[in-house]
């Protein structure tokens, strides 16, 4: 088994674990961690594709960088929504001055 194939399969397994987590987990933080695991799985497959040929291909690296930025933005948006919901349910008591 070549190295890049091993990395690709690991990536797909990570994607599967994450997918299971997103569907099965009840808590929003768990779901978000699972989504990020899926993302890392995809990035592994992309990085392995970069080493597929004789020379290292820079295009997948650029894609992974963009993917990381998107993942950060998406996770932040979800966390903000979850926080707003939490605040609606139980407002934080104001701290005494």
């Amino acid at each position: 088994m070549t190295q890049d194939l091993l990395y690709s399969i690991t990536g797909i397994v990570l994607f599967g674990i994450g997918l299971f987590g997103v569907i099965a987990a009840a808590h929003i933080i768990r779901k978000l961690i699972a989504l990020n695991t899926m993302g890392i799985g995809v990035f592994m497959v992309l990085l392995a594709a970069a080493r597929h040929g004789v020379v290292t291909d820079p295009v997948p690296h650029a894609m992974v960088l963009t993917g990381i930025v998107v993942a950060v933005a998406g996770t932040a948006l979800c966390l903000w929504l979850a926080l707003q919901l939490q605040l609606l349910d139980s407002p934080v008591p104001e701290e005494p001055p």
């Binding site: 797909i12 994450g18 899926m38 992309l46 998406g74 979800c78 929504l81 919901l85």
Partner: protein
């Protein structure tokens, strides 16, 4: 495109202008200036698209920064893209005008305008992207800004819906991205044209096609992946609901058509195409029944979107008759494009009218809307006209769209889809009639919340935007030819005539 001797880079402008608008409205604090700039840029965008359609150029291609296909990012537009860009530009103008009134006395305006223009930039990019990874970026721009716009409503229901929408959207994007990663591994390119030229029907292509399709289906909300749509579209602010139902779900459907018909066509099997058709047929019935059972007007309209999206998926079994696109591909694409445009106009009009009713009555519980016909005649009239188009009665855009669909179904010998299309129209009539029935009964007893202090001019301005779209829906029924010519003239997948 040449105008007055100046070469205008149409495609980069369509991405750049909305982004420029997003930055401009973020920097400006005056409400009047923000709405003026938005209206001007929306008008300019419409003008550019119309000019691009008017010129004789068959299709557009642009390489950003002069970098060629394997490394650089290309933009390309054919007849299908231009048709969708046009409907987007029209709706963006009308929804921007509506939002100017809708958000006129609220602090939400500060957050609405920049996110709204980001959404528009994402939509335009999705329609002209010629590169699988660029499409991913466009999908994320659309997805994240759409979620933020839903959350803008601020209610608990809206936040829950937005969170669910965000999770579904991110899940869809990741499936799509894994598909793209597999494609890159197999073919070493991301350019759609190059992928299309090298495509082979092997297991890796099937895996990539499945992942890309699941991702895009999740974003298009085809049954059984529709679970996020009704709450999100029903609880968003009215102009946002209109944009989500009319444009956002269409963007991912458009990409699905691109991938199935142009990139993966050697790998697509008749069984897979029929599978999507069956899911679409179930979605039509499920959505109509959901709409008939809905208690709130906006939820009814949202379920109606689930049903109408089902019609779009009849494209796949009709286009892939005998597993080749040559016989009915063009006709099916023309019918569905027509359907997309007719539905976008009607559904936007309907959501804008529902927003008017919600703003002026303070609630949208269908059973408490008695006498609406006297209180809000203009909004109800808009709702009824849009309903006529959704049902598919002549003379409306919806009628022509369904007629074209029926034509293809009969020509290709797949009569069972005829039953689905007709039964769907009948069920649509039931839920439209249900609303009209309540609105015209007990004229004097409308329940209106006391705290509603909306100025008359504001609701009239909002109603006028909805009415304009509804009238366009009817006009579309009278002038059907130009869309077919537009598609026929320049689509790379069409060579044979569409109009017989």
């Amino acid at each position: 495109m040449m105008i007055l001797g100046i070469t205008l880079p149409v495609l980069p402008l369509l991405v750049g202008l909305p982004l420029l608008a997003a930055i401009a409205v973020l920097l400006i604090s005056s409400h009047r200036w923000r709405t003026s700039i938005s209206t001007v840029i929306a008008g300019l965008q419409l003008l550019i698209v119309i000019l691009a359609i008017q010129t004789t150029e068959a299709s557009y291609h642009y390489t950003l920064g002069g970098w060629g296909a394997p490394l650089g990012i290309g933009l390309a537009a054919d007849g299908l893209s231009l048709a969708l860009l046009l409907i987007t530009a029209v709706l963006v103008l009308m929804i921007s005008l509506y939002s100017a009134w809708y958000f006129s006395d609220s602090s939400k305006a500060t957050r609405f305008w920049p996110i709204w223009w980001l959404l528009v930039a994402g939509l335009n990019t999705a329609f002209i992207a010629a590169d699988a990874f660029n499409i991913y970026v466009a999908l994320e721009m659309i997805g994240l800004s759409a979620v933020a716009l839903v959350a803008l409503a601020g209610t608990r229901m809206a936040l829950v819906a937005a969170l669910r929408y965000a999770l579904a959207g991110l899940l869809g994007s990741l499936c799509y991205l894994l598909g793209v990663a597999l494609l890159y591994r197999a073919y070493g390119t991301l350019d759609l044209a190059q992928l299309s030229a090298q495509m082979q029907a092997d297991p890796l292509s099937w895996a990539a096609l499945s992942l890309i399709s699941v991702g895009l289906l999740l974003k298009t909300a085809l049954l059984p992946l529709h679970f996020w749509l009704p709450p999100a579209h029903a609880s968003a602010p009215a102009p946002v609901s209109a944009a989500l139902s009319a444009l956002v779900v269409k963007a991912s459907f458009f990409l699905l058509v691109r991938f199935w018909l142009e990139v993966f066509d050697p790998a697509v099997t008749v069984t897979a195409a029929n599978f999507l058709g069956v899911l679409g047929a179930i979605a039509i019935f499920y959505g109509c029944i959901g709409a008939c059972r809905a208690q709130r007007l906006k939820l009814l309209v949202a379920y109606s979107t689930v049903a109408q999206l089902g019609y779009l998926f009849l494209l796949f079994p009709l286009a892939f008759t005998n597993s080749s696109l040559e016989m009915f591909g063009d006709a099916a694409v023309a019918a569905v494009t027509y359907f997309i445009i007719a539905h976008a106009l009607a559904k936007a009009a309907m959501f804008l009218a529902a927003g008017n009713i919600l703003v002026s009555c303070g609630h949208d519980e269908i059973n408490n809307l008695n006498g609406l016909a006297r209180h809000q005649p203009l909004a109800l009239f808009t709702f009824a006209i849009a309903g006529v188009s959704l049902i598919g009665l002549p003379p409306s855009g919806g009628f022509i769209a369904k007629w074209l669909l029926l034509n293809v179904a009969i020509d290709s010998g797949q009569w069972w889809w005829v039953i689905v299309v007709l039964a769907g129209g009948l069920l649509t009539a039931i839920y439209i009639a249900r609303v009209l029935n309540v609105a015209f009964s007990q004229m004097d007893s409308l329940n209106i919340s006391e705290e509603m202090t909306v100025t008359r001019s504001r609701t009239i301005g909002m109603a006028a935007c909805g009415l304009t779209l509804a009238i366009l829906t009817i006009l579309l029924g009278f002038n059907a030819e130009w869309i077919l010519v537009l598609l026929n003239g320049s689509s790379p997948i069409t060579d044979a005539g569409v109009v017989r």
